[in-house]
């Protein structure tokens, strides 16, 4: 993984003399004090993070958290007050005039919350706008714009005006316009917030599909934690201009750093984010095929369980033995391999928790998580899955 974009100590302060406020921040004055006493608004405060090539990096926060200010710094629609933004190792904050134009024309494109479409231009001319600015010839421009329109599924709407389209369609135009210049970095400022929930879900899925094909580096702003966790490879949660926690959705869900994050993740539908590998545990008792029945019974007794998984030497799952069968077999002098059961359920490590619910209601035993080679990775107790339904 290569780092595409690296942000170091980025600060943006709005007001008459923002640079003078940097000192005040260093002295430890809070955002509120600076606003009250000096009339300056601290948009973002010494934010650092990096974004890998080809990843969807979601910046999540409520309104006023500084997320829109932050994304506007990444193409210098906002000039940072301090800090560095390195794109492919080059600090863009120093860019001016020609270099800035070239950066915006070739490397980065933006999708806006309220679409920001040019209502006086037809869909195709909206999509071709970036190419027009780049002085691409009209025929080539049209061809490239058409390609972007195809990607977002807007065929046949080229000659319409944006305001003749529905909200979802309009944002497709916005997305096509951003894709048309074939940028390496896509900045998306709450692109789906203005859409109704059904369309929003559809667009999220579509974005994931497009991303699977195009592999852009996407920085996505959202105020919706469900959206953030659905789309983000990694998520940064912002509050009052600083990043509160940064990590993969699973990491944040598993270990919320403080109460603020905790209240956020409370309402989230875990079953759609957590996979088997996130919730499985190492079984506290296992037996090997070559072990005797007595070992199996003792293991079960010690762990306080009434069934146990049986593995071979390579940790491949062979079956399951219950305590009843084991006791009976011991009297009849039979071996473990004679009484193996196969009525348990198995699953792969990537299965989402919501798919496990059905399995958990039907089985009596813990669910075994195995990989392609049948090796046991861990087990999921039924209660882990089912308690999520409450």
């Amino acid at each position: 993984m290569t780092v595409k974009l690296q942000v170091e100590g980025l600060t943006k302060i709005f007001g008459h003399n923002p640079r003078a406020m940097l000192e005040k921040i260093e002295q430890g004055l809070t955002k509120e004090t600076i606003l009250k006493e000096f009339g300056h608004t601290v948009g973002i405060n010494q934010v650092s993070f990096m974004v890998n090539e080809g990843e969807i990096f979601v910046i999540m926060g409520l309104s006023g958290s500084g997320k829109s200010t932050l994304i506007r710094c990444l193409n210098l629609l906002n000039r940072p007050t301090a800090g560095k933004i390195k794109v492919d190792g080059e600090d863009i904050v120093k860019y001016d005039g020609k270099k800035l134009k070239a950066y915006r024309q070739h490397k980065v494109a933006m999708v806006f919350q309220h679409f920001g479409l040019f209502t006086h231009r037809k869909v195709i001319d909206n999509v071709a706008y970036g190419l027009e600015i780049r002085r691409v010839s009209p025929t080539k421009r049209r061809e490239m714009a058409q390609k972007a329109i195809d990607i977002v599924g807007l065929n046949g709407w080229e000659e319409m005006y944006p305001n003749e389209l529905s909200g979802g369609m309009q944002q497709r135009v916005g997305l096509a316009r951003a894709l048309a210049t074939d940028p390496e970095i896509l900045l998306m400022d709450e692109p789906f917030s203005a859409l109704d929930p059904l369309i929003r879900r559809e667009m999220q899925q579509e974005l994931l599909d497009i991303q699977a094909r195009l592999k852009k580096t996407i920085i996505f702003i959202s105020h919706d934690i469900n959206e953030a966790f659905k789309l983000g490879d990694r998520v940064a949660i912002m509050k009052d201009g600083v990043i509160e926690q940064l990590g993969t959705p699973e990491e944040i869900l598993a270990q919320p750093k403080n109460n603020y994050i905790k209240t956020f993740v409370q309402d989230i539908d875990r079953s759609k984010i957590l996979q088997a590998k996130n919730i499985m545990v190492r079984p506290n008792a296992l037996v090997s095929l070559k072990d005797g029945l007595k070992v199996a019974i003792k293991e079960m007794e010690q762990a306080g369980i009434s069934s146990i998984f049986v593995l071979d030497q390579e940790r491949r799952l062979q079956g399951l033995v219950t305590i009843d069968d084991a006791l009976k077999a011991l009297k009849e002098h039979r071996q473990i391999k004679d009484i193996l059961q196969h009525t348990y359920s198995t699953t792969g490590p990537e299965t989402y928790m919501n798919e496990l619910i059905q399995i958990a209601t039907e089985t009596k035993y813990p669910i075994a998580v195995i990989n392609d080679e049948q090796k046991l990775l861990g087990i999921i107790a039924r209660v882990t899955v089912l308690s999520n339904l409450v």
Partner: protein, 283 residues
């Protein structure tokens, strides 16, 4: 409230006189050049309009109205123009139109760029606004005096005074139209690496166009009302007919000329409004 002490009197009028004198003395050449330019432009327009036969004018009015409004309006408007001819005021109408048209063209050429400047610079805007307010509230007769002093009697001061009176709406509405372009649209233009002039030409001006058209419409209407007043400094046309009617207390003639001005106003207003409507995009 009986009297105000004479010792506190300021002779403002004298200073204005001096300023105009100073202008004439130092920039006489400039005003001569402006005058020559205005005269030349006015002549061109008059010549074209006198060259076209009266029936062709009716046909053109009919066709334009038919194309952008409807057949009924086309019939009514061409009949109105026909009536003007029947009242014997055809020549006056053309002279009036020539002055209106020249003033409007000059107003647009100066007013639109100034309006753009107002939108671009808050400081320029702050300085210009009170000036525009003053220009619009000042009685229109007052403009006649400096126009007279700078350009003498005739059509040129009429065009000049009309322009001063008619320029504020186009400036204001150009400014307003550009300022009302949504912020996200401007951000979008910049985010694709547009320069300021590209943003202006490709986004801001096209977006502002319907508003600018409304400004032009108002400018035309104000020019039409001013041109009557401007007859007092020697501009021939419908205004002069009204003025003469007042001087001779000839109610009939005054009414005839007045009706013709109303006809012109209706036709020009409706036509420019409809043209403005064509520039609106689906909302």
């Amino acid at each position: 409230m009986s009297y105000f002490p004479d010792s506190l009197r300021i002779d403002l009028g004298m200073y204005i006189d001096r300023a105009i004198e100073w202008l004439m003395h130092n920039f006489g050449g400039f005003f001569d050049a402006v005058s020559a330019g205005i005269i030349w432009f006015l002549r061109q327009i008059e010549e074209i309009m006198f060259f076209v036969p009266w029936w062709a004018v009716l046909i053109v009015i009919f066709l334009i109205t038919w194309k952008i409004i409807n057949t009924k309006a086309a019939l009514v408007y061409s009949f109105m123009i026909f009536l003007v001819g029947c009242l014997g005021l055809w020549e006056s109408m053309i002279l009036t139109l020539a002055i209106v048209l020249s003033s409007v063209v000059f107003s647009m050429v100066i007013g639109i760029p100034l309006g753009i400047l107002m939108a671009a610079s808050d400081r320029f805007n702050a300085y210009t606004r009170p000036v525009l307010d003053a220009m619009q509230t000042m009685p229109s007769f007052v403009y006649l005096i400096p126009a007279l002093l700078l350009f003498g009697m005739g059509k040129v001061p009429a065009v000049f005074a009309t322009m001063i009176y008619a320029i504020p709406p186009v400036m204001r509405l150009t400014d307003l139209g550009i300022r009302n372009v949504p912020r996200e649209m401007i951000e979008a233009a910049h985010s694709f690496g547009s320069s300021n002039s590209q943003t202006l030409l490709k986004v801001q001006l096209p977006q502002a166009l319907p508003t600018i058209m409304a400004g032009i419409n108002q400018t035309i209407m104000m020019a039409l009302s001013m041109v009557v007043v401007a007859s007092m400094i020697g501009a021939r046309g419908l205004g002069l007919d009204v003025l003469q009617a007042i001087q001779h207390i000839d109610i009939g003639q005054g009414f005839e000329a007045g009706v013709c001005i109303v006809f012109l106003a209706i036709i020009i207003d409706r036509l420019t409004q409809s043209i403005g409507g064509k520039f609106k995009y689906p909302k």
